[in-house]
């Protein structure tokens, strides 16, 4: 990291639990923001469906690709459960966490396949619009979550390779393992919550 200023010796460090708590709180607040983001799509779904202006909720033959939808949601739930389990024991979370990361990426691949085999286009009415918009932005934020999971796994991997004696986190007085544990907990909580949003999306888009 270029020019990361060293903490001057006469500066007393901040309480060590601050950054850990910030990660905990931060993950919860991101859940709130994500909920409101997808609430807009949820609202759009029910609003357009109930208005059905000009009978254009579904134009032409529009059927939800339920099979693919089930596959995606199963993969997502499995990923969330694995990561949550992994976060219980941070130091040995690498295998389970990596599997969770792989499943998260798999869900995006499945989603892309679904788009190409939909049988209807974005212009096929209200349902098609909401379907395309919702799944697209869900996939985008899945990538963001996958990034976070990846950084945790990479940290674990490097820790396993180079040991815990690597340089301390600069400016963060918290213990390395503690910080990693907190990061993994926050990350897995957000991912679990995000997958829960995905389950809601699945229920709305495929079942309702």
């Amino acid at each position: 990291m270029e020019a990361s200023a060293p903490v001057a010796p006469h500066i007393e460090p901040e309480p060590r639990e601050w950054q850990l708590r910030a990660l905990w709180v931060g993950a919860r607040m991101l859940c709130g923001a994500a909920s409101f983001f997808f609430m807009a799509f949820l609202f759009a779904y029910f609003y357009l469906r109930s208005l059905d202006v000009n009978k254009s909720w579904k134009i032409g033959h529009v059927t939800a690709p339920t099979g693919w939808g089930v596959a995606i949601v199963v993969v997502l739930v499995a990923s969330a459960v694995l990561l949550r389990l992994a976060s219980r024991r941070p130091t040995s979370a690498l295998p389970l966490g990596s599997a969770a990361l792989g499943l998260a990426l798999l869900s995006i691949v499945l989603q892309v396949i679904t788009w190409t085999t939909l049988g209807f286009g974005p212009a096929s009415g209200g349902y098609a619009s909401v379907y395309v918009g919702w799944t697209a932005w869900y996939a985008v934020f899945t990538v963001a979550c996958a990034y976070w999971i990846e950084t945790q796994m990479a940290s674990l991997w490097r820790m396993g390779r180079e040991g815990v004696k690597r340089p301390r986190a600069e400016g963060v007085p918290a213990d390395d393992v503690e910080l990693l544990g907190a990061g993994l907990e926050a990350c897995s909580f957000l991912w679990a919550f995000y997958v829960a949003l995905g389950v809601i999306a699945w229920v709305v888009l495929y079942l309702v």
């Binding site: 990291m1 309480p15 974005p122 009415g125």
Partner: protein, 632 residues
């Protein structure tokens, strides 16, 4: 601060310009735009061809250009370095470029010192505020005469839209950006933000957003105003893409700004800084940050739907192909009404924070004031359909929205109660910041009372969408937010920069602004009642005298702002008279630190044993704050 004083061996200037800084960012931003535009042209599938071939413009290209341009800009600033290192498993760090040695250069690159980010915000937002104000002058120029046009009709609407978007988008962060970023770590004793890199990110993203909005003029502008109503937006030229890009970036920036401030205040209060000792300004920040965190994502989502309509031809907002124009109105105002409180609440915080200092009394009714802010926060999510009283949407719910809207005046009244109680039997010193606070009270009172007319559904039938509502929200936003913004500037900027501001020019600025503000926006209430709709390029000729009066007064506001600008330039750049540590004899923690504040703020995390308003208490408890020595 002084770049010239640093005489240590440094590489030549041209060498220092290479690296992760603003220059690289601009270059990479342009390159990113061109790449995105090119890719957009390539992925021109048959389903989208109709947009590009016939109209001579390709929305996919424009959106991809904006997206990759912003990404390039951020990479150029160095925002990608850390994420890449994290992906490779390197340990987390918090700080980047936190050193006074780097002089002025710090301000032109990614810096995570909360005081540097605050000043970056100050200058950046000030720049866009000036553009927004200039647009207002041009709007008033066009309205001098109903029968001759200075600007084209579409250029006029673009001006209106840019003025509104600039003010509602960029100025939303005008208090939380500069002042909360600077003050919160000092007031709660945390020394830094919870996520310093996110803090810097919000600033640079906001600047990118501002540039995106300005580029709308290369694409024919947008004719929708800041509310961007659909399907008018869907049928617009590519200039509307700039509107979508702008507000989406602003929405992301605002979400993260609120997220970061909230995380900091929740988790990083110094020992003894309990919730009931929190300075009232920080409470204002908390309530605003909650709204930013939760409301802005809805705006982003609504805008993304609009972007999909324009690119892949979904039909969210186009009636007849699955959509509804109501959908945008609902989603926009679910965000939009919290948004106007995002703009008002920091002003409440600043007014109540400054009053005790200049009345030499503790804040009266602290808990009531806090309840007021939180009450406004909560209620603001339940009032949005009062913007749609005559729209035909859920007309049965009008009595409910009338009630919820009017209920908001109860918590707002708490703010006034607290202010009035603090004034009572104080030892009031009419300094420049205090004058602006009093101006806020006067303006916001009229803003609030005119709001009652608009919230009353029968009365709203005439005033809705007229100059009356325009005058109303200028009274609350310009009279409320901008007046407290200036109060904060006169109060804190000397502390932040270390140089005195001229008191004489400050007084001239206040009195001219206060009088001209009321002379400009007062008559607009009358114009609204007389039947002048908003955003019109022409109007009935019997309204011309009043419009001309308003225009002339608006130019006066422009001159008043020039006085302020001259004050800033002459005091902070030319004269540079050093400011003492505590010019206002404030008992707030930030004024117990030396001026300028050292890079690491405190040597030790302070311990608080009282709230920051121990006025009239002998002996006054002063928080044990040890400034970080040696680096000043």
């Amino acid at each position: 601060m002084s770049a010239i004083a640093v005489t240590t061996e440094k590489p030549p200037v041209w060498r220092r310009l290479i690296g992760f800084n603003l220059l690289t960012a601009v270059v990479l931003g342009v390159v990113g735009y061109l790449i995105g535009y090119w890719i957009g042209g390539r992925i021109n599938t048959p389903s989208t061809a109709f947009f590009s071939s016939d109209a001579g413009e390709n929305d996919i290209s424009v959106f991809l250009g904006y997206g990759l341009g912003v990404v390039g800009f951020l990479i150029g600033l160095g925002f990608a370095n850390y994420p890449v290192r994290r992906m490779l498993g390197y340990p987390p760090t918090l700080a980047e470029h936190e050193s006074a040695d780097e002089g002025l250069g710090r301000y032109f690159r990614l810096c995570t010192d909360h005081k540097v980010v605050a000043l970056q915000y100050m200058v950046g937002i000030g720049f866009f505020f000036a553009i927004g104000g200039l647009n207002a002058m041009l709007i008033r120029t066009e309205l001098l005469n109903p029968n001759t046009h200075v600007f084209g009709a579409n250029q006029y609407l673009t001006l209106v839209g840019m003025h509104g978007s600039m003010m509602m988008g960029m100025m939303t962060s005008s208090i939380l950006g500069p002042f909360a970023n600077w003050l919160v770590p000092l007031m709660i004793g945390s020394r830094r933000m919870a996520f310093p890199r996110v803090e810097a990110f919000t600033f640079w993203l906001l600047m990118a957003a501002g540039v995106v909005l300005i580029t709308t003029i290369f694409f024919g502008g947008f004719q929708t105003g800041w509310t961007g109503y659909q399907p008018l937006g869907a049928e617009g030229t590519a200039g509307y893409d700039a509107y979508i890009g702008f507000f989406a970036l602003v929405g992301i920036s605002m979400t993260l700004l609120g997220f970061n401030l909230l995380a900091t205040i929740i988790t990083m209060r110094a020992p003894g800084m309990t919730w009931t000792r929190l300075p009232i300004f920080v409470w204002g920040v908390v309530s605003t940050a909650i709204l930013m965190l939760l409301a802005s994502p809805m705006l982003a989502a609504a805008l993304f739907m609009g972007a999909f309509d324009r690119t892949v031809q979904t039909g969210f907002y186009v009636p007849g192909v699955g959509g509804s124009s109501f959908l945008w109105q609902n989603l926009f105002w679910v965000f939009g009404h919290p948004e106007v409180y995002i703009v008002a609440l920091p002003g409440f915080g600043i007014a109540l924070e400054l009053l005790p200092v200049f009345c030499r009394k503790p804040l009266w009714g602290y808990r009531v004031a806090v309840a007021g802010m939180l009450g406004v926060t909560l209620l603001s999510f339940f009032v949005w359909q009062h913007h749609l009283f005559v729209s035909g949407i859920n007309a049965d719910l009008r009595p409910f929205y009338m009630l919820s809207t009017e209920l908001i005046s109860i918590p707002t009244g708490f703010i006034f109660l607290s202010a009035m109680g603090t004034l009572w039997r104080g030892r009031i010193r009419l300094t420049v910041p205090m004058l602006f606070v009093l101006g806020w009270a006067f303006n916001f009172l009229f803003g609030g009372i005119s709001g009652v007319f608009l919230s009353d559904a029968p009365s709203d039938v005439t005033t809705h969408g007229s100059f009356f509502s325009m005058a109303h929200f200028h009274y609350t936003i310009m009279g409320g937010l901008v007046f407290t913004f200036f109060a904060a500037i006169y109060y804190w900027i000397p502390k932040m920069t270390g140089y005195k501001l001229s008191e004489r020019l400050g007084r001239i600025h206040f009195w001219s602004l206060f009088i001209l503000f009321n002379a400009t926006f007062g008559p607009l209430f009358a114009l609204g009642f007389m039947g002048m709709p908003r955003r019109v390029v022409t109007y009935a000729s019997n309204l011309q005298p009043l419009n001309d009066w308003v225009s002339v007064c608006a130019y006066g506001i422009g001159l008043s702002m020039l006085v302020f600008l001259w004050n800033v330039v002459s005091s902070l750049i030319l004269k540079r008279e050093p400011e003492v540590a505590n010019a206002w004899n404030s008992k707030s923690p930030e004024f117990q630190l030396p001026t300028p504040v050292p890079v690491y703020d405190f040597e030790r995390i302070p311990v608080f044993d009282a709230d920051p308003y121990p006025y009239g208490v002998e002996p006054a408890p002063v928080p044990t704050i040890a400034p970080a020595g040696g680096t000043a």
